[in-house]
C-alpha cells in the first residue's frame, strides 16, 4: 500500500473499498431526501397545474423558453465537465481534474448569470408575487389573462420563483465546494486510491442537473401549443 492509501483510510474502516461504499451510500441517502424535498414542490406544482391548467399555460408562455433551453444545454455541459473531473481525479490526474472543475464552475456561473437576466425581466414586468406584483389590469394585459385568473397567475410565479430559486441556491452552494475541490485536486490531494470527495460532489452536481431537466419542460414549455 502506498503512503497516500494509508493516510486516506480511516481507522474504523477495514478497506478503502468499504470506506468508499459507505461514503457513497451516505451521499445517496442525502440525495434521496433531496428528491423528496424537491418532490414536495413538484407535488404542489402538479396539484395547482391540474386545477388551473390554462392559467399555467398562459404564464409559461411569458417565460423566455430560448433562455431556458440555453440554460439546459449549459447545465448539461457542466454535468459533462463534472463527469470528466471525476474521471480525471479517479485516474490520479489532479491538474486535469482541477481544470475540469474550473470549467464546471464557469458553466454554473453562466447558468446563474442567465437566471439573473430572467429574474430581472420579471422584476421589470412586475411579476414577482408578494414583492413586486403589478396592478391587475397590467398583469392581465401582460399574460393575456382576465378576472380571477390574474390572481391565480401568482400561484404559477410563486412556484416558478420557489422552484428555480431553490434550484439556483443548490448551485450557489455547489460552486464554492467545486472551487475547494479544484484547489485540493491541483495541490495533488487526490489519487487513484482516494478521490471520494470529487466523486460525491459529482453526485450532488448531477442531481441538481436532473432537477433542472424536469423544471425546464414543466415551467418553460407548457404554453407552446
Amino acid at each position: 500500500m502506498s503512503e497516500a492509501t494509508g493516510s486516506a483510510l480511516q481507522h474504523h474502516f477495514t478497506s478503502l473499498d468499504q470506506q468508499k461504499n459507505a461514503a457513497t451510500l451516505g451521499m445517496w441517502a442525502f440525495i434521496v431526501q433531496e428528491v423528496l424535498f424537491f418532490g414536495g414542490m413538484f407535488t404542489v406544482y402538479t396539484v395547482y397545474r391540474s386545477q388551473y391548467y390554462s392559467v399555467f399555460e398562459a404564464c409559461s408562455h411569458h417565460l423566455d423558453w430560448k433562455l431556458g433551453a440555453l440554460n439546459t444545454i449549459v447545465l448539461i455541459c457542466s454535468s459533462l465537465t463534472m463527469a470528466l473531473a471525476v474521471h480525471a481525479a479517479a485516474l490520479g490526474k489532479g491538474k486535469a481534474a482541477a481544470v475540469w472543475l474550473a470549467a464546471t464552475i464557469a458553466l454554473g456561473a453562466w447558468f446563474l448569470g442567465n437566471k439573473v437576466v430572467e429574474y430581472h425581466q420579471k422584476w421589470e414586468d412586475q411579476l414577482i408575487p408578494g414583492l413586486r406584483w403589478g396592478a391587475a389590469a397590467d398583469v392581465g394585459r401582460e399574460l393575456h389573462l382576465a378576472g380571477a385568473d390574474v390572481d391565480r397567475a401568482q400561484l404559477y410565479f410563486s412556484l416558478y420563483f420557489g422552484m428555480t430559486g431553490l434550484h439556483a441556491l443548490h448551485m450557489i452552494i455547489g460552486i464554492p465546494i467545486l472551487a475547494w475541490l479544484a484547489r485540493r485536486a491541483w495541490a495533488g490531494h487526490f489519487s487513484i486510491e482516494y478521490s471520494t470527495p470529487v466523486e460525491l460532489t459529482g453526485l450532488y452536481w448531477h442531481f441538481v442537473d436532473i432537477v433542472w431537466i424536469f423544471l425546464f419542460p414543466l415551467l418553460y414549455l407548457i404554453g407552446h401549443r
Partner: protein
C-alpha cells in the same frame, strides 16, 4: 467485497455518448412542446425528462456500476416520490374543490 467494484473507471466515450443524447433529448422536448398531443403533452414532456434523468443517474452518477444497496436507495427514492404525488393527486381529483374554476 468483490461485488462492490468501486474502482470501476467509466470510459470517457460513455460520458460523451450520454452528453450527446441529453442535448438531442433537449431538442426533442422543445419540438414536442410545439406539437399537439391532446391531453398527452405533459406525459410526453415528463417521459423525455425521465429518460434523460435515467441516463444521468446510471452513467454520470455511476449507479449502473454501484452496489446493490446503492441501487436499492435510488429505486426507493423514486418509489416514495411516486407515492407522494400519487396519493396527493388521488385525493385532489376524487373530490370537488370549492374554489375550482
Amino acid at each position: 467485497m468483490a461485488s462492490s467494484d468501486s474502482h470501476h473507471v467509466v470510459p470517457v466515450g460513455a460520458y460523451i455518448a450520454v452528453f450527446l443524447a441529453l442535448v438531442a433529448f433537449t431538442g426533442i422536448t422543445v419540438w414536442a412542446a410545439g406539437q399537439d398531443f391532446g391531453a398527452y403533452n405533459t406525459a410526453v414532456a415528463v417521459g423525455i425528462a425521465v429518460a434523460k434523468a435515467t441516463m444521468v443517474v446510471l452513467i454520470f452518477m455511476h449507479v449502473k456500476w454501484g452496489t446493490k444497496l446503492t441501487q436499492l436507495y435510488v429505486v426507493a427514492g423514486v418509489v416514495f416520490l411516486l407515492i407522494l404525488i400519487a396519493i396527493t393527486m388521488s385525493d385532489y381529483i376524487s373530490r370537488p374543490w370549492p374554489i375550482m374554476r
